[in-house]
């Protein structure tokens, strides 16, 4: 399988002389097309910094990040926006839907900024909405939807442009357990059926168990990595819990 994302010895320091913080310390891993990778770590472990570096919102101090073979640490200025527009899809913890737009418009915006024609936009939005079971909320505004519906609309927005990589930052963080499960199942389905490559940051073992591979980060470097392989989700969940236990009490909030 082709490699979508590849990190090589990525370092990120904050602060200056005297008070240097290593947020990311020699992080290297890669993600292949069609993978659903979970990144786990406690708060302060560097997972958000990692996500920001990959999404070009933040710059690395050293090392390289390749996306589809292109070194994104070298992209500058307006090309960064183009890069984000064309290659990435975002799902945020607090949905980040635009409250003045309907669900349909929130999703279609991702396409219209790419210059897709109006007729095609409509077709693609409707198709995506069907997959995520949100047809009936397309005309509604965010304040009229439940949290789960909002997050599925956000997922639709992230995936509608068929990005090379979908970045999900604690997507279930603001959802109740039933909605969480439904969203994760949807993401799993999108990963399987559309071969969407997903990188999900979470500190929740249950969410992580929907991934096909989980990378653990501690104090800014990769601690370990486990794959689901042929395991059931339950078995994979138990394995994750084992690693979390090994990591120490830092992930207490996962239980």
């Amino acid at each position: 399988m082709s490699e979508i994302l590849k990190l090589e010895a990525v370092e990120k320091y904050y602060g200056g002389k005297g008070s240097l913080t290593k947020a990311l310390d020699n992080v290297s891993f890669s993600v292949s097309k069609g993978e659903f990778v979970g990144i786990m770590g406690s708060s302060g472990s560097g997972k958000t910094t990692l996500l920001n570096c990959i999404s070009t919102i933040d710059r690395v101090t050293a090392g390289n990040i390749y996306m589809d073979g292109e070194d994104i640490t070298r992209i500058k200025g307006n090309d960064l926006n183009r890069f984000r527009r064309e290659k990435l899809g975002f799902i945020f913890q607090d949905f980040n839907l635009l409250d003045t737009l309907t669900a349909f418009e929130n999703i279609s915006l991702a396409l219209s900024i790419q210059g897709v024609k109006a007729d095609e936009i409509e077709k693609r939005v409707v198709a995506m909405a069907e997959k995520l079971d949100i047809q009936e909320v397309l005309k509604k505004y965010p304040y009229q939807m439940s949290g789960g519906q909002k997050q599925r609309v956000a997922a639709a927005r992230a995936l509608i442009t068929a990005p090379s990589l979908v970045l999900a930052d604690e997507p279930t963080g603001a959802l109740d357990s039933k909605s969480s499960r439904y969203l994760l199942e949807s993401m799993e389905m999108l990963n399987r059926e559309l071969e969407a490559t997903i990188l999900m940051v979470t500190h929740d073992a249950f969410s992580a168990s929907y991934a096909t591979r989980v990378i653990f980060i501690k104090d800014g470097h990769v601690f370990s990595e486990i794959r689901k392989g042929a395991d059931t989700r339950k078995q994979f969940f138990d394995k994750i819990i084992e690693v979390v236990t090994m990591l120490g009490g830092n992930l207490n909030d996962a239980f």
Binding site: R85, N96, L98, T100, E105, S108, L109, S112, Y143
Partner: protein, 681 residues
């Protein structure tokens, strides 16, 4: 950090929030000073006596207007500061979390206000003092005064007055802000950033209907005040149209966003291009949540445009009226009757003004040329009878006509420096310049209405009036003077005609300026009039000199122009400042949204483009509607002022729209620049 440093840092830090506040304060202070300093600024100008009289009236009116203006500015300043307070709730929450007492927070706010007050008063007064020097030139120009003794002045009264008024306003701001802090609860302050996701989307079909209603209301009001103006006969009716205009304005604001959205959504190629749908929806929700203030702002702008245009037009028109209607140096007028009393006991010997002047030993050598003519009138025949069968005079009153022979008219016309007229033996000419009557006469003349005068039938030489007057005047008030050939024998038809008045016109000989001024003031003074009329039995003679007419009328228009400009500018600043504050607070509230757009790959160019578009439309809609209103409002204004003149409107509109555009653009640019800064990461 001490409590003294905190306020300074706060202001520095949130300069972009404060910029509009500062700009408004400084402009307000400068304006207030300029208009209050006029008294001092004009004191050194060489004004004639009547100029000074008018000035006195103006200062009295200005005092009243000043109080009104200070209320408007006071409201604006409190409003603006409460806006800033809202924006800083989080900051106060942090202070409170850190254990700062409400009293200390209040101290910080008081000191901030004091600091802002000192800076704004300093800068505003400096600006005002500078601008008032320029204002002197304007005053001098308006009053046609002599600028030779002009010097730089500072009006200490105006400075003190400005200080007192604005210190009161700042005290109000402090009381208001301290009150807000006193009532604040920590939990509310902390949650201030989380605004409820209210949605202002409206039913588009309902919006279309409401917009239709608004358009109908405005349309009929527009029609009524212009084309249908003849059917408006009292102020109640006019008030009705104004009420329709106001209701229509608010309805239009209520529905315009929904209506535009209705079409925007249907134009898919527009709607799904870039972030157009975001821009449209943002703008729509902003307009929808500001219906009331939008309407108010539109009306303020409308008032500004109309007032400025009408005042300038009045001023321009007045000059033109004077040029045409006061061409000779002096005119005397002898009227034998009290108003509306016609008698036959007219001793023609007593009717000569020249005789009277010679009797009184007036120095006729001071006139280079002079002449007098007699005007006659019709017995019991007014416009209704005269135009009978041609036009229906529906007025309650029917004005009468004067009649004069062509050679008499031409003698006066020569003194006035006008072209002489000529008529054939069976022709007449209608001289009139009161706009209402000109309209009526022209209808009759166009029909070729013939008149029977002194046993002969005359037909009109021209198909419309010659818009002039036989007398000198500072308004266009000639209701109608009929000029007939010399062959028309007035004396043989005393049953039909009667003597009306004598008009004497003269020009001065060349004399030194001082002497001329003294001579003119003597003639136009009350003393000379009393002297001429010392014999109570003799018919009364009135005097009008060219200089007197100029002074009194330019003075009147100058007062109107001043107050128009003053109020207009205050309203304009208020409207623009409110719009700016709304726009800025909106940008701050929407900062996150722009962050989201950035993350999904919208580039800065697109964001700025969207922001600019939104600001432009948000600023543009009230202005656009106000301009539309003004097109008709100015016509109403001109209709009311038409007794003075209807000339000079184009220049007036250019001048006033230039002024409005400059101030409005300043606010727009500051707003755009600041909101761009706010949405930056």
């Amino acid at each position: 950090m001490t409590l003294f440093k905190l306020p300074i840092r706060n202001i520095k830090k949130s300069m972009k929030d404060y910029l509009i506040y500062f700009a408004t304060l400084i402009l307000g202070i400068a304006l207030f000073y300029v208009f209050n300093a006029i008294e001092k600024q004009t004191a050194m100008l060489n004004l004639s006596n009547s100029g000074y009289d008018i000035m006195d009236i103006m200062f009295t009116v200005m005092d009243v207007v000043g109080v009104f203006v200070s209320f408007v500015l006071g409201f604006l300043i409190v409003y603006a500061s409460s806006f800033l307070m809202k924006r800083r709730k989080k900051e106060f929450a942090v202070y409170m979390l850190l254990g700062m007492s409400k009293r200390s927070i209040s101290t910080v706010i008081v000191m901030e206000t004091v600091l802002i007050g000192i800076i704004s008063l300093g800068v505003g007064l400096l600006l005002g003092i500078g601008a008032s020097q320029g204002m002197s030139v304007v005053v001098a120009n308006l009053f046609e005064a002599d600028m030779t003794s002009f010097q730089f002045t500072i009006s200490s009264e105006a400075v003190v007055k400005t200080l007192i008024y604005f210190l009161i306003m700042y005290a109000l701001v402090i009381i208001f802000d301290v009150f807000v802090v006193g009532k604040a609860r920590l939990i509310n302050l902390l949650n201030a950033g989380r605004h409820s996701e209210k949605n202002y989307a409206k039913n588009p079909v309902l919006c279309l209907i409401v917009f239709g209603v608004a358009a109908a209301l405005l349309g009929t009001a527009y029609y009524k005040v212009t084309a249908g103006v003849d059917s408006i006969d009292d102020f109640g009716d006019l008030g009705m149209q104004v009420a329709k205009g106001i209701i229509g304005t608010f309805l239009a604001f209520w529905s315009v966003a929904g209506m535009l959205m209705f079409f925007a959504v249907r134009s898919k190629r527009f709607y799904h291009k870039g972030i157009n749908c975001f821009s449209a929806k943002e703008l729509g929700s902003r307009i929808n949540s500001n219906v009331f203030s939008g309407g108010i702002i539109c009306l303020l702008l409308f008032f500004t445009i109309t007032a400025l245009s009408c005042c300038f037009a009045l001023r321009n028109g007045m000059n033109e009226v004077l040029r045409v209607n006061a061409p000779a140096d002096v005119m005397l007028r002898l009227t034998p009757y009290a108003v509306d009393v016609e008698t036959d006991n007219v001793e023609m010997n007593n009717m000569s003004i020249v005789n009277r002047l010679e009797e009184k030993n007036v120095d006729m050598s001071k006139f280079s040329e002079y002449d007098e003519i007699y005007l006659y009138g019709f017995r019991g025949v007014g416009a209704r009878e005269m135009w009978d069968g041609v036009i229906d005079i529906s007025y309650d009153y029917s004005f009468t006509f004067d009649i004069v022979r062509i050679s008499d008219y031409n003698r006066i016309a020569r003194l006035y420096g006008r072209d002489e007229l000529s008529v054939k033996d069976d022709e007449y000419i209608m001289l009139a310049n009161y706009f209402m009557n000109v309209k009526e006469h022209n209808k009759a003349l166009a029909e070729g209405k013939t008149l029977n005068i002194c046993g002969k039938t005359y037909k009109p030489k021209y198909d419309k009036c010659v818009e002039l007057d036989v007398c000198m005047n500072n308004t266009e008030g000639n209701t109608g003077t009929i000029i007939v050939p010399d062959s028309c024998d007035f004396d043989a038809y005393v049953d039909e005609l009667l003597f009306m008045e004598t008009v004497f016109v003269a020009n001065y000989v060349d004399m030194p300026e001082q002497e001329l001024k003294a001579w003119d003031e003597y003639l136009s003074g009350d003393e000379f009039t009393d002297f001429l009329n010392s014999d109570r039995e003799a018919p009364r003679v009135g005097v009008r000199t060219k200089i007197f007419l100029y002074d009194s009328s330019t003075g009147l228009t100058a007062v109107a122009v001043f107050i128009g400009i003053y109020l207009g500018l205050v309203f304009l600043i208020s409207a623009a400042a409110i719009l700016s504050l709304k726009e800025l607070s909106n940008a701050a509230d929407n900062k996150e949204k722009y962050g989201v757009l950035r993350k999904i790959g919208v580039d800065e160019k697109m964001l700025n483009h969207s922001l600019r578009g939104q600001s432009l439309v948000f600023f543009g809609i009230p202005l656009l509607l106000a301009v539309l209103h003004s097109v008709f409002g100015i016509q109403v204004g001109m209709f009311i002022l038409a007794a003075f003149s209807k000339r000079g409107l184009t220049g007036a509109i250019i001048a006033s729209s230039g002024m409005i555009l400059v101030i409005y653009s300043i606010y727009f640019l500051i707003t755009y620049y600041c909101s761009k800064e706010i949405i930056k990461e």
